[in-house]
Assembly symmetry: C2
Homo-oligomer: 331 residues x 2
């Protein structure tokens, strides 16, 4: 089996996105619904701030669609903070049935793919899927205290401060969730946690290859194919590996981590990363273009590095996974 899942009637009703200061200084600034330049989002700690960002984003999404929490049958959510606390604390006041997921930075794609199945199976009528990350909570959890001001390597990526949320239901809307393909864990032996693009590139290539192999489609069937957060380093590797497999790519093949910052001007090294990277770029930038009919059919590949700081300290390489979804307009 392990086939591409084809959804019958799953639509993205609308999206909401919240982002931080660095994202607001980048080229996609106007695509986000809400920007807060306060990394604390008005709270006393970064962690509480990230949860507040999640809470605000859910409220934005509900408000856009004039929905109340009780109209939502489930929220699928995840983030990078230990025990996915940012998202669960962020949604805890809504009283919506909670389905916690963890796919590292592939969480956005995993949630949409799973959410689509819940809707298509008519188990649920309306679900919200969301993913969140925060530079300050990730940096001090995965790397160093912020106060330390450590230097970063050229292949390092910058965790996006952002949350993207999506409302799915079977009611026709501008964007149809068309298909998905869950990823197989790939471990290519990369041990450098400052080069997660290289660790994740093989997972992305594997899932993209499986999709094209089964579907007989090519990049020409899409207006855009975007990985989640391979960054410049991982994108270059993935492009080369796809070429080796005879899979043609061109400028339509891009990466959310390359798009979210003006990398050189903002000194962002290899680009953006984090669950919030694909989530905000899809919810904001891409969804706007879908709405304006400038993108008609797109493929997104969420890429997740399944490490934690201890696995690195214990000498493990970095396993990765990439979940794929395709979206097309109904126009």
């Amino acid at each position: 089996m392990r086939k591409i899942i084809r959804y019958n009637n799953v639509f993205i009703q609308d999206t909401a996105s919240t982002a931080g200061q660095k994202e607001a200084e980048g080229p996609l600034a106007t695509s986000f619904d809400l920007i807060d330049t306060d990394a604390y989002f008005g709270k006393p700690t970064f962690e509480k701030g990230e949860s507040e960002m999640v809470r605000i984003t859910v409220n934005l999404l509900l408000s856009k669609l004039n929905k109340k929490p009780e109209d939502i049958d489930a929220v699928l959510c995840g983030d990078l903070v230990n025990q996915c606390a940012s998202s669960s604390f962020g949604v805890k006041t809504f009283g919506i049935p909670h389905i916690g997921i963890y796919g590292a930075c592939s969480t956005c794609a995993e949630g949409l793919a799973l959410g689509g199945i819940l809707i298509d199976n008519q188990s649920f009528k309306t679900v919200i899927s969301l993913a969140s990350s925060h530079f300050c909570t990730a940096e001090r959890q995965y790397r160093f205290p912020l106060e330390y001001g450590n230097q970063r390597t050229p292949t390092a990526q910058n965790t996006v401060t952002g949350c993207g949320a999506f409302m799915l239901s079977d009611q026709p809307a501008v964007a149809r969730l068309e298909s998905s393909l869950f990823g197989i864990i790939s471990d290519n032996g990369v041990t450098d946690q400052n080069n997660m693009g290289a660790a994740m590139a093989t997972a992305a290539v594997d899932t993209i290859s499986r999709y094209f192999y089964e579907s007989n489609e090519t990049i020409d069937d899409f207006d855009l194919i975007a990985t989640g957060d391979l960054g410049y380093e991982g994108h270059a590797i993935a492009t080369e590996l796809l070429a080796h497999r005879g899979i043609k790519t061109d400028e339509r093949f891009t990466d959310c981590g390359m798009l979210i910052y003006d990398t050189k001007r903002q000194d962002m090294h290899a680009g953006g990363s984090g669950c919030g990277c694909m989530a905000t770029v899809l919810a904001g930038h891409f969804f706007r273009q879908i709405r304006e009919n400038r993108l008609k059919r797109i493929m997104l590949i969420g890429t997740g590095a399944l490490l934690n700081p201890n696995t690195v300290l214990q000498g493990e390489s970095i396993p990765s996974v990439a979940h794929l979804i395709t979206i097309r307009t109904e126009k």
Copy 2:
């Protein structure tokens, strides 16, 4: 909507369970497929050991059913270690599409409930759902270094070293996954991380009440109703709260955390906890009774405390969630 999900054709083909020393000293010892009294499971660290336990359990399950990894369409898995590393590292060599979930100690129920939807939607033909926990990885991550030998409070629970795995498909088998109900996050203000039973009791009561309210069933419709790991403290609270709501319980209402240890003899305070608690008790003890037709219809309620050590340090209370499944024999 938010209704009880009723599965059409989802069956638990078989289960596998692996457990550690303390579990082997308890009353359910003979129900586990494999016991390893080495907390390292032959590996150099506890974390690598937990992953090895997961890997062994998947192999046990595949072997029982004479299946190969390529016969499995997806593995839903989760654990308590940061970034769910124990389970993802444990399954990474199988090449099975990976769906990471996080529900703290409700993970076993969450995975079965979600896996059932994937099968019923015919998105997948065969999936494995598993949950794992390990006393030594949890203790040093959540509490103190083991070497410190700290004393525990009377309401503290002991994290089960164990992994339980389940194979689901639409092929008729001894046990049918009948229905599920996803939990709503409950936060009753408990801040004591050594009293997670009290924190989780309200979540369990909420989900059980919702189930009975919608279904018009009572405890008399079940041979057994077991929460995941409320322990003695949480079980007493839940029993009282259910009575306040007019929901009758009797000796058929129990808790996996109360069953897995001989609490007094083993000095286990309020009982067992951890993702592996419900997973191993269901996969071992309960499933054996289902197979022997001594249990015909059971309700399991996975209970998860959605904290991490930082949320406690930052003064947050402990939100909890409880996911419910019902299973019945086909005999």
